[in-house]
Symmetry: C2
Subunit: 541 residues, 2 copies
């Protein structure tokens, strides 16, 4: 019976391709249920809480006296190398909040100066001067970081890469893209789309984050399962060192085995040893066929089972395998308000599977075989397959809107961890238990600080996002979660940061994921490249 249902469904693919309807199918249902889908424009991020200064929230962190305070002479120098539009100064009306505050509005610095150079030479001059003068600097890309790594803590100068935003070169035979660090990820991907290529990573913040920023963060995102990490795809970098010297490997080829691969040190260095100004990256051909299905699953064990099946059946065309728990979808429903959820009934877990391939017919056949098997054995309980680009994006939206949905009630504590697959969800359960025990959790009780602790993430990479949605940031909640979360992860040999980095939030917790020798060597490299420690202080190590 299912076979017929799925067959009919898949046959419908081409016929209904341009129509507005989504085809829903269900194992126990009576065949096809056509239902219109539409997606409201997602509201801009907001928070009910006026952000506090990081210096006030974390009084134990003190401004380092080794750093000079900004003087009129310094301004004279910056004005000598930068034009008016490249310098932003704090005034009575302008507190530079956009540059001082992070996306979650959890951290707030007190910088009085933002420099926005338009050339690598200017970046070099700025850093050399700051290094000589011992002025602390925070490099900043799209400022979409999630660990407070891209905003100042005290009065550090913000070095914004926003105006260094040109595509430099693209070779349509090799697929090698060369661009400035400040190019917005979505712009880079749109540019590549015109040439039949795709940026080998994707993430929710693509409309704001910079190519240089994702390299400096070693962001993982949604396509890692398919295209691998940036350590493999980035071919060359242009990096300005604290002393103003420029490390340039932008000419890099796909293969070059001459000397230590220096650029690798800067991938994931979070602006602590150099400022990435240019990126050369290998991009794959854009898949001609993309399918997305959104499935309801009865248990976390079921999610793991579906993953193994998907690896086997979908193999080389599997490009994303994301899971979400019911609580995360409840938050998303509240946030997206009138939009109907892809699945009518509720399930403990949801899985989003994306395939990308070169032959639509072959991909459909593989997806069909996989779904049949997964529904036949009862692992998948219900599901929907997108039939056109709009529906595809709508299904993704139910995964991608979780971060802002978690944030919408006031604020969010975000933990981005790697765990062995079997232990992945146990952290969410443990966090919920702990918050309940401490009397902090109240789904609909507005007197409790925590709304909900939800889990979702990239199962394919062993990467869980634990989001604790709160009505307000509070020391009590933070103390309940930290170091509890890190201890839990460490006990399972996981990583306390899978893809977000260390930043300010996790500076003190690196020991949970790295051993003494590693931490010593990390500090040794920091001292080697940035002996005055002017770059992104109070963070990382």
């Amino acid at each position: 019976m299912l076979r017929n249902t799925v067959k009919r469904h898949l046959k419908n693919f081409s016929r209904a391709k341009t129509g507005p309807g989504a085809v829903f199918w269900s194992k126990n249902g009576s065949g096809l249920r056509i239902k219109p889908m539409s997606m409201a424009q997602v509201a801009t991020y907001s928070t009910k809480i006026p952000p506090r200064l990081t210096a006030e929230s974390y009084p134990s962190v003190q401004r380092l006296t080794q750093f000079k305070k900004l003087s009129p002479e310094d301004m004279t120098f910056f004005q000598s190398i930068l034009s008016g539009s490249e310098i932003l100064q704090a005034t009575a009306d302008e507190d530079l909040a956009l540059f001082n505050e992070d996306w979650m509005r959890k951290y707030k610095g007190q910088s009085k100066l933002v420099l926005r150079p338009k050339s690598v030479e200017q970046v070099s001059q700025i850093l050399k001067y700051c290094n000589d003068q011992k002025l602390a600097v925070v490099p900043q890309g799209g400022n979409t970081g999630l660990v407070g790594g891209s905003v100042p803590v005290f009065d550090e100068i913000v070095l914004s890469l926003t105006q260094l935003n040109k595509i430099r070169d693209f070779d349509p035979v090799s697929g090698i893209l060369k661009c400035d660090a400040g190019v917005i990820l979505e712009n880079a991907d749109s540019y590549l789309a015109e040439h039949g290529y795709i940026f080998p990573m994707d993430l929710g913040a693509k409309g704001s984050c910079h190519v240089g920023g994702i390299v400096a963060t070693n962001a993982g995102g949604l396509r890692l399962l398919r295209y691998g990490s940036l350590h493999g795809t980035v071919l060359g970098l242009e990096v300005v060192l604290p002393n103003g010297k420029v490390l340039n490997s932008m000419n890099a080829l796909r293969k070059d085995n001459t000397g230590y691969d220096l650029k690798q040190m800067f991938i994931g260095s979070e602006g602590t040893i150099g400022v990435v100004t240019g990126v050369s990256i290998l991009t794959p051909p854009r898949p001609k066929a993309v399918n997305v299905s959104f499935l309801g699953v009865g248990s976390y064990e079921g999610v793991q089972k579906v993953f193994v099946q998907a690896k086997q059946e979908l193999s080389e065309i599997l490009s994303a395998f994301e899971f979400m728990d019911l609580k995360s979808q409840k938050l998303a429903k509240q946030h997206l308000k009138d939009v109907a959820h892809p699945l009518e009934d509720e399930y403990p877990f949801y899985v989003l599977i994306e395939t990308s391939g070169s032959n639509k017919e072959h991909d459909d056949a593989k997806l069909e075989a996989f779904l049949e098997k997964a529904m036949d054995d009862g692992t998948v309980l219900d599901g929907v397959v997108a039939q056109d680009e709009t529906e595809l994006r709508n299904l993704w939206e139910w995964r991608e809107s979780i971060p802002e949905s978690s944030q919408a009630g006031g604020g969010v504590y975000k933990y981005d961890v790697s765990l062995p697959l079997k232990d992945l969800y146990s952290l969410v359960e443990a966090a919920n238990e702990r918050l309940a025990e401490k009397g902090l959790l109240g789904d609909s009780d507005a007197t409790k600080p925590v709304i909900s602790a939800v889990g979702y993430g990239h199962v394919g990479d062993g990467n869980l996002h634990l989001n604790v949605a709160v009505r307000e940031y509070s020391k009590e909640v933070e103390k309940a979660l930290e170091p509890f979360v890190y201890e839990f992860v460490s006990s399972k040999n996981g990583s306390i940061s899978a893809e977000h980095g260390l930043g300010f939030q996790k500076k003190n917790y690196i020991g949970y994921s790295k051993n003494e020798q590693e931490v010593a060597m990390i500090k040794q490299l920091k001292n080697l490249y940035d002996p005055n420690a002017i770059l992104n202080p109070y963070k990382y190590v």
Copy 2:
């Protein structure tokens, strides 16, 4: 007509799967031509030339006086931490040639001592002692390197990883393999095959080379096009530093963003800053279907065109795209003697295309569509598709036997370079012209030192192998080729070493591929990790 030919051919696939015949097809042929194929066992490597000491061939390289000479006290120490079978000493009968000479018999060191520890602790004790005593050390894996990087130059102690050869752990859900550095690549791959996984790289020397050795070399090999570089697939390393301290990141997960990615420095470091003793690597599911086709092409322009078509048509299942020139196949024919070449007629260029996927039917359809198009437009002139595992290996043999075929006449000068795709073959033409001009080239003239200069390699990665087959190694030939080859590559913004590394051969030529700032930073790291410079001296930088 072709359509029918190819269709018939592909239909034959399943029927003839276990048969011994290879199906040949040709655009102008009269349909199917069945022809038996068999492959002689490849002779063991040999050379007519007794190798000279490197110290004699390169008198300008002098033993560094900073290194201590081996003393009886040193032997007492080594005997106190190693058993008899873990120590090999030179005697009147045993000159340790296997450890002193490289695979090409181009370099020969004078080491009197080989240490073959069985534990990481022993490696640590050895290095700490050698560092304290200023005894120079050459780490050695399977000794299959092609730039003289794994053999001593003077009396360095050889630290062989041969006896550190255990698989440590494999997780069949994530595909993460953890093993000792001394595990032979083929053994690792066979082990993975039992679990349905595949080692993400492959190369001709797989029967001898070590997993640790390919990591230390950052070898590229035959599957890079599909699975990417080791910088992306290696998840963690265990490395003993010159001071005996152990950097251990073997617990690494697929994603871990806490601190600089230290292991990356050791991938491709060629044993100059640490000794890799353990490797943790992400392995992909073993493809269920593999196709190999061997094609005749009329020009190098045609090869490029076939590559672009293959990327478009075969996309996610394309796993290798190798090209060979006619001269390389002539050498292989001489070497493989009675074995019939896959294609009856001669063509200026040959291309080997491998697809790997999860669905044989889909892969066959994609390959068929691609071949039809390529033959229809005249790019591909003739071809054969393997029909079973034996034929598949035989086709590969015509690519993989080129190195020993080039070597068989006496010796070989090997250049492994990256070049922009369009310029790739021009280096082979330029080298042939130059050798002819200098009167060094004589295909059948035994009085000339050079037999032939042939080109082949991984077009998909922009990686050319130029092999100059010689009757004997001579300064005259070397001078004609170096720095000529490096200058040519540099003028095209290529790399003088795509995958073989620098070793002894290219130590002085790094400036052709790396700029001053890069070389300075490479030397800085060498000094940081190996201040006494005891590891693999006279090489790399």
